[in-house]
């Protein structure tokens, strides 16, 4: 353990101050990155969770070390792990396309709470290193994620078509080109027949077929009104 922090290992006025400020800083650093990405849980949410968690471990250390009550020092902190899980669960949603969103947000909130626990307990090394690693992961991996998204052979194609048989011929076309359909969502036209039906395909392209060539072939299929790449 780093000896610089040795004077702050006990619960004193100074160490309380340092720990809580550290919790705010760590929570803020994790939060501001999420906010920048426009995710639902942002700056304030992370700070509040991290700060709250740090107060629980501080309180249990105070009860044990300063007030000499008979207690299990880990008990308060242990419930943080469960309690913040519930709050995180609230951020997870299932979208209309049956996709699960908000998992990373929930996990981020939860890990911010754990960092808060470490900061409050005076485990400065753990709190600081974890925060740095989280930031590194978020910054580097999200870059990588966007890059993969750019070069991915997976494309989303939005198509409007006039009738059912057209959809079948499109599926036949995809089969002929040996393109795998990983997801297909059809939104049926309203009864009045005023609108065309639309479908959103998620396709896994192969090397033989480029996006543009595929779109062209889809457009020329009979009954297709329009094709768009998303």
């Amino acid at each position: 353990m780093l000896s610089v922090f040795n004077s702050l290992r006990d619960v004193t006025l100074l160490s309380v101050l340092v720990r809580m400020l550290l919790a705010v800083l760590c929570g803020g650093a994790i939060g501001i990155e999420r906010e920048y990405k426009r995710r639902p849980a942002g700056f304030r949410t992370h700070i509040l969770i991290c700060l709250g968690a740090s107060m629980t471990t501080l309180t249990s250390q105070y009860l044990y070390l300063n007030m000499h009550y008979y207690t299990d020092m880990g008990r308060l902190g242990a419930q943080v792990i469960a309690g913040v899980g519930f709050i995180g669960a609230g951020t997870i949603i299932v979208t209309r396309r049956r996709r699960v969103k908000g998992l990373t947000t929930a996990a981020g909130l939860w890990v911010a709470a754990i960092v808060g626990l470490a900061a409050g307990a005076g485990f400065y090394e753990g709190a600081i290193f974890t925060t740095l690693l989280i930031l590194l992961a978020e910054l580097l991996l999200s870059k990588l994620e966007y890059r993969i998204m750019d070069s991915t052979p997976e494309v989303n194609v939005y198509m409007e078509y006039a009738n059912r048989s057209c959809l079948e011929s499109i599926l036949q076309l995809l089969r002929d080109l040996s393109i795998k359909v990983t997801n297909l969502e059809i939104t049926r036209s309203s009864e009045s027949g005023k609108h065309n039906s639309c479908a959103i395909f998620t396709l896994q392209l192969n090397k033989r077929c480029t996006v543009n060539a595929l779109l062209e072939r889809m457009t020329t299929t009979e009954g297709v009104v329009s094709v768009e790449e998303l």
């Binding site: 809580m20 949410t45 007030m67 979208t95 209309r96 609108h195």
Partner: protein
Amino acid sequence: MLTCLDFLRQLNTGSVLLRLALAVLFGGLIGLEREHKRRPAGFRTYMLVCLGAALTMLLSQYEYVMLTTRWASVASELGIRTDVSRFGAQVINGIGFLGAGTIIVTGRQEVKGLTTAAGLWASACMGLAIGAGFYECVFLGFALIFLSIRLLPKIEDIVIEKARNMNIYVEFQSMDDVGEILNRVKAQNVQIYEVELDRGREEKFRNPSAVLYVRLTYKQPHTQILSAISELESVYTIEEI
């Protein structure tokens, strides 16, 4: 630690009164600030949560004190010791549930109420510290929570303004316009990485809508993109969420 508070660290009528009053005061002040912004959980919610948390902690200390004084003979006979943080620990879990209830997903696939949940939860934690008589932590914690709620929204606004990711909600005339809208969005030098479409219902006067998750290729004002899309006649509503 401040020695002048030593008398109030013990459990006696004065310190019980003081702690409960502190819980009402601090919980209430945080609640007032939230109520001011018309958030779902207001003055009374925060006050009650904070007061309850403080009382839980006081209760377990009371039992401990009783076990070491009045009930000492029974306790030594049965060999039971109570852990003072057992009650308090469940508060943390319980308020997590309460907070989860304030989180809602709007029709625009927006998650709301997270800050409220986090704030409630943090004030429950503060309530525990109040009940424990950990005054230093309480004053600091209150100041930090209050400042976070008060000052940080301004910083958040700046971050949002500079962000390269944008979530756009559009309402438009009919599903036939989707192609046109997507083309217009793409012409703004942005990468669309996800689209959520909702067909809407004519009989319920609900227009079709879409949520676009986009990433700007370079920094540019968000309003510029929004106004470019709103120029289309078929677009009824456009909003950044």
